[in-house]
């Protein structure tokens, strides 16, 4: 029987199927962090239950951790982290605490250890679990009640998703990255467009991406309302995995690869919905509003809500401009920022840091701009330091921090002050997301770095203008037309 990638992975994990009930799905890997797990462990204790498969469960500390040296000073944050430590010890779950060589953001840790593999089901009490779909895994965020359910049973009752193909064909222009692709997808289908679907990203532009770029795209599937995003595994996937700590070895590797090669949507399979995007027409993308669907190419201007036909969208745009302190018609390039944040489970991997470093190298962060660079994990940090990227950032005037979720959601001290504006490589520009009253523009690492240097939303091409004093040619090379 023919099927899509998502359906194949789903079907391989059905423990029990019964008419009129959700399927009971087996979970191959359960990731935990300190914020969404304490109440779940409490539930287990109350019911006298154990963790069924501690050997398929892994915890890390990420949301609350400070990114400057020293202990957690916020008492409530510290209690949450200490609660995770106690719970992991009591229930026998492996934990990467602050300071551990393997600590980091949960969605950076899984893939770098080789724990995230094709064809797996992966869950975490965190909506950005969709990241792991880049390997052809079915991975999605769950709530705390579901965390408790998986801890107790290693399964979840779930109603099947519908499937949506996102076809991205063509070649990306220089300076255009995975982040621009996914921001364009979200702007196109809206924050509710993927609701009820698993997205499968396909096409030549997707196949040409590295694993880290694929993770960036799958990561933000949830911002289009989709619980999961997937990309069929290929040689790029196998090359990434081979030799990693938890990847199969020897004969098991060969067996696994043979199985993984079957994990693709059959040619005659039918998706419930199809969306097409021309990669060659894309340019650097930024958000102007307070949801990730409110984005435009950097060369455009802040939109006029009056031109929006849908009443709800119009009201949302009006409210967004008011919150963001923006006026319709202002060129996006004229928007001045106070802070630049490079990091998060969306763009906190080594490739992202290399991209940002390549732009700031030998240059200086603009006066009055604070640039924070927060590696996604301790391993990423170490790798970056071995490559000298930390020096590139600090010499430019940026702050080089310890790994964690940091300013993506400001549960630790890294927050925007009220009214402060950021260009951020994270995933959500919601009101107050990066700190009460803070204003967020979502961007790629390249745009973040260029923005830090110029102080206004910029792409690297804008720097070439300045440095080479040849504005037209340089801008045309990266921006194209639209």
């Amino acid at each position: 029987m023919s099927g899509t990638l998502a359906e194949k992975v789903w079907d391989a994990h059905v423990v029990r199927r019964s008419e009129g009930e959700p399927d009971l799905l087996y979970i191959d890997l359960h990731l935990l962090h300190e914020v969404t797990s304490p109440q779940a462990f409490d539930g287990l204790r109350l019911a006298g239950r154990k963790v069924r498969r501690p050997d398929l469960t892994l915890a890390t500390e990420d949301h609350n951790v400070p990114t400057t040296p020293g202990p957690i000073t916020d008492l409530v944050s510290r209690t949450q982290v200490e609660t995770l430590r106690r719970n992991c010890e009591e229930f026998g779950v492996r934990l990467f605490p602050m300071g551990d060589a393997e600590q980091g953001i949960v969605h950076v840790v899984g893939p770098q250890l080789g724990l995230t593999q094709p064809g797996m089901t992966i869950v975490c009490g965190d909506s950005h679990t969709s990241t792991h779909g880049a390997f052809g895994a079915l991975a999605f965020g769950i709530g705390t009640s579901e965390v408790e359910h998986v801890l107790a049973t290693q399964t979840l009752p779930l109603k099947p998703f519908r499937t949506m193909a996102i076809n991205v064909e063509g070649e990306l222009q220089p300076g255009v990255t995975a982040k621009d692709i996914v921001l364009a997808v979200i702007a196109k289908i809206g924050t509710g467009g993927g609701q009820g679907y698993v997205l499968e990203y396909r096409g030549s532009a997707i196949r040409s991406l590295s694993m880290e770029s694929r993770m960036t795209i799958c990561n933000m599937s949830i911002e289009a309302g989709a619980r999961a995003g997937m990309i069929a595994p290929d040689e790029t996937t196998f090359d990434y995995l081979k030799g990693r700590d938890h990847a199969p070895t020897g004969d098991a590797w060969d067996t696994a690869v043979e199985e993984w090669k079957q994990l693709r949507t059959d040619d005659d399979a039918v998706f419930d919905a199809v969306v097409d995007l021309d990669a060659s027409a894309l340019t650097p993308f930024v958000t102007w509003g307070t949801n990730p669907g409110q984005g435009l190419p950097l060369a455009e201007s802040v939109p006029d809500p009056e031109t929006i036909a849908d009443e709800n969208e119009k009201a949302a745009a009006q409210r967004a401009l008011e919150y963001m302190g923006l006026e319709a018609g202002t060129p996006l390039r004229d928007i001045r920022v106070d802070t630049v944040f490079v990091g998060s489970c969306t763009n906190g991997r080594i490739e992202d840091l290399r991209a940002a470093a390549s732009v700031v190298k030998g240059r200086k962060v603009a006066d009055g701009v604070r640039m924070l660079v927060v590696p996604g994990s301790a391993r990423v940090r170490l790798q970056a330091e071995q490559e000298g990227l930390d020096a590139v950032f600090t010499e430019a005037g940026a702050e080089w921090r310890l790994p964690g979720c940091s300013m993506c959601l400001g549960m630790n001290p890294d927050q925007l002050a009220p009214g402060e504006r950021s260009a951020s490589t994270s995933n959500r520009n919601f009101e107050g997301r990066q700190g009460k009253g803070g204003r967020t523009h979502l961007v790629s690492p390249l745009v973040a770095a260029a923005t830090a240097l110029r102080g206004t939303l910029s792409s690297p091409a804008d720097l070439l203008d300045r440095d080479a004093d040849a504005p037209v040619a340089a801008a045309a090379a990266t921006e194209g037309s639209h």
């Binding site: 969404t36 050997d55 409530v76 009490g125 408790e148 700590d245 400001g410 549960m411």
Partner: protein
């Protein structure tokens, strides 16, 4: 979980779309390790605005929230459901809910009633003209009644059954524990474990 059949309470018109879970409860309020006490964080930023609907005495004791489309988007935090329930809400009405939020609600006994946007607009007008008016949500007949407005709502059969019976998922799944054990016997041996090398 407490069972849910019908609920009557003050309706609160929230004329906003894309109410994400960061608005329902900002991250700084997520540090508690219990399921209670989150009511203070509910719509924390918006409640500082005196014109916000819950700051109007007529709506302050509301238990049926009537919101715009795409309610509950963003973060998977179940704290959003706890905050709404801790405050006193038993029902949220919207024309479209985010998947994770809807699932979380069903686990906790917060009813998410999906009503056509046209009917939501009518209920908004009614509640704005009659501040403090009640709304009745009947899970048996799947209808929302507000004044003369009677609107059908959608909720899937399985969630409806669980809510009506007040059943919790874990005990339901544990009835099939042998199926889980059998499945584990069939899993490919190359699948990874988290045990350290």
């Amino acid at each position: 979980m407490e069972s849910f059949t019908t609920h009557t309470g003050i309706g609160v018109p929230l004329r906003r779309s894309n109410v994400d879970t960061d608005q329902i409860i900002p991250a700084v309020y997520l540090k508690r390790v219990t399921r209670t006490g989150f009511e203070d964080g509910l719509f924390a930023a918006w409640r500082k605005d005196e014109t916000f609907v819950l700051n109007n005495d007529a709506y302050a004791a509301g238990s049926v929230l009537v919101a715009g489309p795409d309610f509950g988007t963003g973060s998977s935090r179940e704290h959003a459901v706890w905050a709404l329930m801790n405050y006193g809400f038993r029902v949220v009405i919207s024309s479209r809910f985010a998947d994770i939020f809807r699932g979380n609600s069903g686990k906790q006994g917060l009813l998410t009633a999906q009503v056509d946007q046209g009917d939501v607009e009518l209920i908004w007008k009614y509640l704005e003209n009659e501040p403090g008016a009640s709304v009745t949500v009947d899970l048996v007949s799947r209808t929302v009644t507000a004044g003369d407005i009677v609107a059908p709502f959608e909720v899937d059969d399985y969630t409806r059954w669980r809510l009506l019976e007040g059943l919790d998922d874990i005990s339901l799944t544990l009835r099939h524990e042998q199926d889980v054990t059998d499945f584990e016997g069939r899993r490919p041996s190359y699948k990874p474990t988290t045990i350290g090398a």
